[in-house]
Symmetry: C2
Subunit: 254 residues, 2 copies
DNA sequence: CGCGGAATTGAAAATACTCAAAATTAGTGG
DNA sequence: CCACTAATTTTGAGTATTTTCAATTCCGCG
């Protein structure tokens, strides 16, 4: 599923085999270089910094860190969370391969959240000032970058929708449907995947307690919407799950 | 408080008095032209489309409308809301003078929410494709635009924080503190202002019912945090209100 | 003056939370 | 590979906050 974790020197073309840089990255169709021609990918490659391995539970950046780079996830999963004045965490998102981390930091040149790897992961460092220079000369990339930022805004609006007026059961269904669609976009099964995050993280993200998440999983299991084994989830009835997420159907307790 | 509503022909310089365009707009220190020199403001002015008056309760754009323009609010207030598959509304934000509307539409060339004026308002149309062309030639503006988009991401993350792990009372306090700080940034009193939105809109935004908002207002009034008269709010104890919003203090019912 | 939308208030109901305990799983070292 | 410990998850019972439903009241406006 994810790539082997053995160390391979970065950015060194392996003759006749893998290309280095964006062109050789399995995420290039989803990530920043999406839709660029070979020459433009080349230009983008030249500004991209080193690749970084982030082991599970390690922090990529912290709230308050000075903003230097965006990070493109090559493989692995991350969570981002903010800490409020009272010291409580709020998970603001889960990110996976092909997604960009750090866009919230542009506004104040300072990171606004912590980003922690949920499993051993790898990211590309994208020095933002160099990227911005490049954007001035590459209209296609500029537009695509704006789309990505806009997508992030849209994503968060959807979370607001979710947090603001869905009941627990609907929220959780929507969460699963969202994960499924993102795996589908990456060529993975949308009906069978691993939850990379703990029940606690899910609960925190959805504004629910860990107990509620646990109960919802049990309920969905009993209603034969899902098969659940530890963190492995199999969606048995995607249609009904989507209906639940849309609010067209309900799934009462017991 | 807001500018007079009488009609004045747009973009016609009044000799020896007001300048037309961004330089003459009271919001230019908060809006897109922030930090630009006179020559650059001039360039920006040239691509900005007409000004539009939007009467109270009128819609600036709707979900699904093709995306052509961003809108800078010259004066007035707006709300944006999405409609979920079940037909329920979710207010995703309240916007005021100097703020930009429509950035969520870039990602899919289609508006993702409705924007409705909460009072008689005026916006500048900013044709996005022309803006993007200009951004390629104005690094300062480019960077500033990215800051604005990033700020929108940050703003929404803060709402997630609010919706995700605050109790009603804390949410509502945070909402008021947020409004206060935005009015302060605009040179208005941060302790005395009008709520431009209905209790229903506030409740919808915060994921609470209208009844809950009403009870919270009564409670805050009784605890001498606020004076409330219809939509006019006066913050009597800003320190305690902030403490409430931060979660450092509580304010129980009765 | 009276109508209608908006806001307030009260009482009952429901959803999700808290606390507690048990069960399961993951991690560690022998 | 197994045993042990720590962490995570599940489940139950009682509680609390917020919602729902209903009845008024308030206010703007014709």
């Amino acid at each position: 599923m994810s790539q082997p974790l053995s160390y391979v020197p970065n950015r060194v073309p392996i003759v006749g085999a893998l290309k280095a840089g964006c062109a050789g990255c399995s995420m290039h169709e989803l990530c920043l270089p999406m839709g660029l021609d070979t020459a433009d990918i080349e230009r983008l490659d030249r500004i991209i910094g080193r690749r970084r391995r982030i082991a599970r539970d390690e922090t990529l950046y912290r709230m308050g860190d000075p903003f230097k780079n965006l990070y493109a996830i090559r493989f692995g999963h991350f969570k981002t969370y903010q800490v409020n004045p009272a010291g409580e965490q709020q998970v603001t998102g889960f990110q996976m391969g092909g997604e960009l981390l750090g866009m919230d930091a542009i506004s104040a040149d300072t990171h606004h959240c912590d980003a922690v790897a949920l499993e051993d992961s790898e990211v590309c460092e994208i020095p933002f000032s160099r990227l911005e220079d490049l954007l001035g000369h590459m209209p296609t990339l500029l537009h695509h970058f704006h789309r990505i930022m806009s997508q992030e805004i849209t994503r968060e609006q959807n979370v607001m929708l979710l947090l603001g007026n869905m009941r627990a059961e609907q929220q959780f269904a929507a969460f699963l449907v969202n994960l499924a669609s993102r795996y589908a976009a990456r060529g993975y099964s949308p009906t069978s995947f691993q939850l990379r995050m703990s029940r606690e993280d899910i609960g925190n993200y959805l504004g629910l307690t860990i107990e509620s998440i646990s109960r919802l999983l049990s309920r969905f299991k009993k209603r034969e919407l899902l098969l659940v084994d530890k963190r492995e989830v199999q969606i048995v009835d995607p249609v009904r799950l989507k209906a639940l997420a849309a609010g067209t159907e309900v799934c009462l307790p017991m």
